[in-house]
Amino acid sequence: MKKFISAIFITVLILSGCVKLARYDNETYKELTFTKVNVQELYDQKGQMDEVEWQIEAESILLHLKGMLEYEANKKKNEDTTKQLRLLKEIYESHIDDDEWDDLERELYTQTILLSFDGMIDSEKAKNKELF
């Protein structure tokens, strides 16, 4: 009997270690939705406002994304969200590193980044079926 109980205990321990998804985090959801709106606004403003000011704003959002990444990377069992955010940051960086956008690039960059944010937001929402 003792062996049986030990076996169950060990199995539960192993299974709990295999769960990769973190719990729903309202801070993550809020940051993603707010940052998505800020990025959309920034992309709309490219070419409309002074380029130096635009770059300052773009760097400020990049810094914010880095902070979000640090926050996610430090949460337990949160590899998936961390990886998603790392990919999103790479996309964003490649966009803001491009100095001149024509209309086609603006449209493609906007679609790509918004879809990436939506993918992450959907992932976070899926962790809380009662709320969403």
Partner: protein, 91 residues
């Protein structure tokens, strides 16, 4: 493997926003073929579409898997043979 296959696959998705991405990628490929933009531009855009699809795949391992594979194949062709074979029949 040509970029047309990726564009067609994106158009076949239920998510209409991916149709927009397909349309814009097609325009970029056309401009690349016409020499209006460089190979690097197409490469960057393909890489970013690949990253975006990966974000979705982390949540759902099956979703967009076939399209993500096409992006990967196209990037290999681009790196080894250049842009010409990718955009051969884009017009």
């Amino acid at each position: 493997m040509e970029i047309n296959e990726l564009i067609d696959a994106l158009y076949q998705q239920e998510d209409k926003r991916l149709h927009g991405v397909a349309n814009l990628l097609a325009k970029t490929a056309e401009r690349c073929k016409a020499g209006e933009v460089g190979e690097e531009t197409l490469k960057n855009q393909l890489e970013n579409v690949g990253r975006m699809l990966e974000i979705y795949q982390i949540k759902d391992k099956v979703k967009h898997k076939a399209i993500a594979q096409k992006v990967e194949d196209l990037l290999i062709i681009l790196a080894t043979k250049g842009v010409a074979p990718l955009v051969k029949n884009i017009f």
